[in-house]
C-alpha cells in the first residue's frame, strides 16, 4: 500500500500553506508503514475527530472515521474501543476544543489508559472561529476576544497528562514530517493511552513557525522510563515565547500500565458475539 491510497479526492479547505498539511502527510505515512509492516490491519483503523480546523482531516483520510462533536473526540474514542477492542483508534483534537470544552475527558482518558492514540493539533488558538485565545495561548496574547491580553498562564498539556497517568507522552512538530511520522507510529503501537502533542503553527492567526524553529530541539539520551526526568522535560517550555525558551520534542515518557478494557474477564469483540438470549432463563433470574 502507498500513502496516496489513503487519499479521498475531497478538496482541501485548509488555508493554503497551513501546517495541518504536514500532519496529514505524517499520519498517512505512519498508517501506510504500519499496514505494510503488518502491524495494523487497515480495516481495523478508526479515525476520530472533533470540531476545529484540524477536524477536516476527516475528509482527507480514506479510513473508517467518526467525526464527533467539538471537544468530544476522547469519549467517542473510548466508546469505540470498548465497542470493539480489536479496532485501532487514532483520535484527533485541537488545543482549544481539547483543553477548554473537553478538558474533563483529558484527565479521565489518561487515567483510564484505554489502548487508543490521541493527536492534538496545538496551534495555541481557536482558529476555525477566527482566532480567539485557548487555554494554551501565551500570557499577554491579544485576540479579538481578549483585547486586554490573555490574563492567565497557559496550561502545560504534557505536565498535565503526566500527572493524570497517561502511559505514553510525546511532542512533535507539524513541519518535521519524518520525526512526526515515527512518533505517530510509536504512539499507535504503544499499548495504553498514547498522547501526542503536535506543535502546529496557524499561519493565519498565530504564526509561531519562526519562533518554534529557533527554539525546538530533539530529546536525545533521554530515559523515557523515568518519570521525574520526563516531568522535568515536560516543564521545560511554558508555552510562552521567551528568548531563552527550549522546546523539547520526541517521546518524553513511556511505561506499561494495565489498560482499561482488560478489566473485564469476558471482554469480547461484541459484534461477532452471536447472542441468543434465553428469555425464560433471564426472567427466572429476576423472579422474586
Amino acid at each position: 500500500m502507498k500513502a496516496e491510497d489513503l487519499n479521498t479526492g475531497e478538496k482541501s479547505t485548509w488555508c493554503p500553506g497551513c501546517t495541518d498539511f504536514g500532519i496529514l502527510t505524517s499520519v498517512k505515512q505512519a498508517i501506510t508503514n504500519l499496514v505494510n509492516d503488518e502491524k495494523v490491519k487497515r480495516e481495523n483503523i478508526v479515525g476520530v475527530s472533533g470540531v476545529g480546523c484540524f477536524d477536516k482531516i476527516y475528509d482527507y483520510l480514506n479510513i473508517n472515521f467518526f467525526h464527533t462533536l467539538h471537544g468530544r473526540s476522547l469519549p467517542t474514542m473510548f466508546g469505540i474501543k470498548l465497542g470493539n477492542p480489536e479496532l485501532k483508534i487514532i483520535g484527533f483534537g485541537g488545543d482549544g476544543s481539547t483543553y477548554a470544552e473537553g478538558m474533563a475527558h483529558v484527565v479521565h482518558s489518561c487515567r483510564y489508559n484505554e489502548d487508543t492514540t490521541f493527536l492534538v493539533f496545538d496551534n495555541q488558538m481557536f482558529s476555525l472561529t477566527t482566532g480567539q485565545a485557548t487555554p494554551v495561548s501565551e500570557k499577554g496574547l491579544v485576540t479579538p476576544s481578549t483585547p486586554l491580553g490573555v490574563h492567565e498562564k497557559p496550561v502545560n498539556p504534557l505536565a498535565l497528562t503526566m500527572t493524570c497517568g497517561a502511559s505514553f507522552i510525546s511532542r512533535g512538530f507539524a513541519l518535521d514530517i519524518p520525526n512526526l511520522t515515527k512518533l505517530i507510529e510509536a504512539a499507535v503501537m504503544h499499548k495504553g493511552f498514547s498522547f501526542v502533542e503536535i506543535l502546529q503553527p496557524c499561519i493565519s492567526y498565530h504564526n509561531t513557525t519562526q519562533f518554534i524553529r529557533e527554539h525546538i530541539y530533539k530529546l536525545e539520551n533521554h530515559n523515557t522510563g523515568n518519570y521525574e526526568d520526563a516531568m522535568k522535560k515536560a516543564l521545560e517550555w511554558d508555552y510562552c515565547q521567551n528568548e531563552n525558551s527550549k522546546i523539547p520534542t520526541g517521546i518524553f515518557y513511556e511505561t506499561n500500565k494495565p489498560i482499561y478494557e482488560d478489566q473485564w474477564p469476558h471482554m469480547k469483540k461484541w459484534h461477532t458475539v452471536k447472542r441468543n438470549p434465553d428469555f425464560r432463563k433471564i426472567l427466572s433470574e429476576f423472579k422474586k
Partner: protein, 547 residues
Amino acid sequence: MEKHILIGGEAGKGIAKTTLLISEVFTNAGYYVFNYREYQSLIKGGFNFNVLKISDNPVYSHDNSYDVIFALNQDLIDRHENDLKEGGFILGDKNLKGKNLIGIDVQAHLEKLGASAKLGNDILIGALAKIIGLPVEPVVKVVKGAFKKKIDLLEESIIEGYNCVEKKMELDNPDGKPKYFITGNEAISMGAITSGIDMYVAYPITPATPVLHELASKQVEHDFIVVQPENEIAVACSALGASYAGANTMIGTSGAGFALMTEALSLQGMSEVPLVVYLSQRTGPASGVPTYNSQGDLKFAVNVGHGEFVRVVVAPGDAKECFYRTIEAFHLASKYRVLVMILGDKHVGESNYSFDDFEEPKIKPSRYITEPCEDYKSYLITENGVSPRSVPGQGAVVRATSYEHNEYGYTTEKADEVIKMNDKRLKKLDDLKEEIMDLVPVYLHGQGKKLIVGWGSTKGAIVDALKDLPDFRFLQVSYISPFPAEEVKREIENSDEVILIENNATGLLGDIIAEQTGKIINKKVLKYDGRPFTSEEIVERVNKVVK
C-alpha cells in the same frame, strides 16, 4: 379483598428489605401486591416508607389509608396515625405511642431468645403475619431464603413474634399461583438483557441508578459490559462510539444528566448511530426534589437536541410494559438507526408490580448489521431513508459524522445535498410510524362514554380508579413520538367529556395533543407535589372536575 400496609421509619433500618420480604410471602401465596416506595435524599436517619396494597385481584397502585401501620419509629405514627382505617392497627415496639397500637416488647423477646438486636425486625415480621392472618411457615421460609448464610435464631425470632400476638384479620384465599414481583427498573434491565445488550453506560443518578446496579451485577454472567465514565457527556458520546463499532448500547439517566447529554443526542440525529436512552424522570427543575416523582420532562424528551431529526419516545405504564417497551426500543433503534427514548419516572421505575406471567417477546434481537459490499456508502439514500448499517473491521470504510454529508459521509455544504440528506433522515418516519401502529401505541382501558387521557406511570392509579368511575374509559398514550395523532383524535371526538390526568404542573401531554391533533383539553387533573396519584385521589378529583 384488599389490605393496605404502611411500613416505615428511619432510613438505614431495613425498611426496604422488610417490605420486600413481606411482599414475597404474599406473592408466593398467589396474592397481587403493589409496593410504593418513598424516601428522602439521604443515607441514614430521616424518614422513609413503603406502602403495600395486597389483593386477590390485580392491583397497580397504592392508597393512603392503611389496615396496618408497621412502625419502626414514632415519626411514622405521628405523620400517619390519622390514615389508619377503621379497625386497623399500628404494630411496633411497646415504647411507641399511637391509637390501636399493638406494642411489642421487642427487647424482652430478643433477650429471652438470646438473639441479637438485628433480629428485632424479624420479631415484628412474625407478629405482622399473625395479625394479618398469614400462617407462619411461609414467612419463615421466605425470610430464611433471603440470606445466603444461616443466621442463628432467625426462625425462632419470627416464631416468637408470631406467637406473642393475636390474629386480627382475615385474608381471602388467592389463586395460589406465585406472582412475579418486579420493579420497572428491574424490568428495563431484563428487557435490555433479553435484547442482547452489549454495553450499558451511565453516571449515577436517582431514580435511574438501580438499572446501573442491576445490569452491573449481571454483566459477567451475560457477557456484556457496564461502564461508568466521568460525566453524562462522556456517557452519551462513548455510547455512540460503541454503537458505531457495532455494540448494542443503552444509556440511562434522569433530567439533570439528560440535559448534559443533549448535544450528543443531536449527534445521534445527524450520525444515525443507533442509541437507546432510558430517561427516568424526577421532580425538577434543576436538582428539584431528587428522590420524588414527576412527569415533567415529556416535552424535553420529545424535543431533545438541536436541529430537526427523528426522535422516538415511548412511555411504559407499569413494570411489564417497561420490559416489552425496552425490547421495542432496541429493535427500533437498530432497525431505523434512530434515537429511542424510554421515558419512565421514579414511580414506575422504583415501584414493585406483580404479574402472573411474562409472555415470550415477539421481537427477536438483531443489530441490523449488513455484510460489507463493494462501494459501501455509510449514508446510502434508500427508499425508506434507512441506510444499510456496517461497522468498522468488516472491510467497508464506515463513516459517522456530526456534519452534514453526502452518501459516503464526506462533509458537504451544498444546498441540494443538504436538502437530500434532511429528506432522507426524515423519510424514516414513514416506516417507523407504520411499524409503531403494530406496537399498540395507545390502549383503551374500560368502556365508559367519558374519556380520561394520560401516559406513563399514572396508568396504575387510573386503571385501579376505573372501577369506581364507571362512566369513564382511559386512553393510555404510550408512543409519544411519533405521535399516534389519528387514534387520539378519534377517541377525543367520540367522547362526551375528556379529562387529562398528568403528574406535572402544566399538562404536557395536553400540549402535544393540541399540537398534533388541534384538540384542546380544558379539563385537567394535575398533581405536582412530587408524589404519584393514588386511585382514591383520582376518583375524587375526576368527580370534582366533571361534577
